[in-house]
């Protein structure tokens, strides 16, 4: 187990607050630190017996955020602690769990981690050879001694079987239905420099940004009557599970199959200034336009947490629940 303490700087949160993307990158950094903990190597020095550079590639992430500790409660220049625990199944598969809180809130004892009180994530990761564009990801085993000793799993993590199920069913929730739908797939052009670094595939956390963009397009532009953008800006992530089946590159176009459900929130808020007005559940699959490959399947739950002083927004929410909400 490892606890990273990090100051949320401009490079993490811009001028704002912790986002899903920033939290995911903190978790990605933490597992990278953990797998070389106590060794003399750095992550880019992990190679297989052929000398190929390996990197830990997420095939599943499942982020959960309690409404009492929304990501937005962690702000610029706050110090946060990120706990990470990693277990291995064989030489290639890693199962990781994470907890994020204030520096004194993450216990050293894993049994005391309270995932109901703090943002948390579980992840499934595979060591793969750095791939050339469009190539199949090739799993490989780090050479002996290049990664830290980590506790071993006696059987495959559940995410391995779930991954195979998503691969064959095409969605992590194929039966999901909702009133919020797009008649045609939503397009997203992957831009080098904005979405990904030149010459590289998309980083796992960046898929969350694309999924948010797709969701925003659906709510603001494709359903009618539309959701006011001011209302969309008050969406807070409660949970997102994502399976990463294939990756994409700059200048490719993604096609998103999206459906969503809007329901009244059953959350009782203890915050005087905020009203948990409604919950949005979205299921999205992303395909690459040219190859038609399924890249990602994701299911997210978000809360419309509205300032109680914004009565107009609250009326907007009531109206949209009447028009688009589930019966």
């Amino acid at each position: 187990m490892l606890i990273d303490t990090v100051e949320l700087t401009l490079s993490h949160v811009d001028l704002g607050e912790l986002t899903e993307f920033a939290a995911m990158t903190l978790f990605g950094n933490a597992i990278s630190h953990r797998i070389v903990l106590g060794t003399d190597v750095t992550v880019p020095e992990i190679t297989d017996s052929d000398g190929n550079t390996l990197y830990p590639s997420y095939f599943m992430t499942h982020l959960k955020v309690p409404h009492s500790a929304l990501l937005s409660s962690y702000k610029l220049w706050d110090r946060v602690a990120v706990g990470v625990n990693v277990r291995v199944f064989g030489g290639m598969i890693l199962e990781s769990s994470y907890l994020l809180g204030r520096p004194d809130e993450i216990p050293q004892d894993l049994d005391l981690w309270n995932t109901d009180a703090f943002p948390s994530m579980t992840g499934g990761t595979l060591f793969v050879v750095e791939e050339s564009r469009g190539g199949e990801p090739k799993p490989s085993v780090p050479r002996g001694g290049l990664i830290a000793e980590m506790p071993k799993l006696a059987k495959p993590p559940a995410s391995v079987a779930e991954f195979a199920t998503v691969q064959t069913r095409g969605s992590l929730d194929p039966g999901f239905k909702g009133k919020l739908v797009s008649q045609a797939p939503i397009r997203h052009a992957v831009a080098t420099g904005r979405d990904l670094a030149p010459g590289h595939a998309l980083m796992f956390a960046s898929f969350g940004k694309i999924l948010d963009h797709v969701e925003r397009t659906l709510l603001a532009d494709l359903v009618f009557p539309p959701f006011p953008t001011d209302l969309i800006n008050h969406l807070s992530l409660l949970e997102r599970q994502t399976f990463y089946l294939n990756n994409c590159y700059g200048d490719q176009v993604l096609l998103a199959n999206v459906r969503g459900r809007l329901t009244p929130s059953d959350i009782v808020s203890r915050s005087a200034g905020s009203v948990p007005a409604a919950t949005l559940t979205m299921v999205v699959e992303l395909y690459e336009q040219t190859s038609r490959k399924l890249l990602v399947s994701s299911k997210a739950s978000k809360l419309f947490a509205l300032p109680s002083s914004r009565t107009t927004l609250l009326r907007d929410m009531e109206r949209l629940l009447f028009l688009h909400g589930e019966d």
Binding site: S49, G90, G91, M92, P137, P139, S140, V141, A164, Q167
Partner: protein
Amino acid sequence: MDETERTICEAVLEIAQRRSPEIKQVSRQHSLVDDFGLSSMDYAELVATLEMLLNADPFAESVSITTIRTVGDLCDAYKKVL
């Protein structure tokens, strides 16, 4: 077929049957990808399972996993380190 080969064939069969239940037999000549459709994740799970069953991981030391095409290649890789 010796004990190591039998263990490997049984492990391959178990994973292959998840995708294709009609597969009833595994031999050295079978291709892991072309005959059984094993994915990257299947490969990783297979190697992890064999590490537990045989208490060895040839791919961490001497053998390149990218050279493994057939069940026979897999058997030979483990025999090198057992």
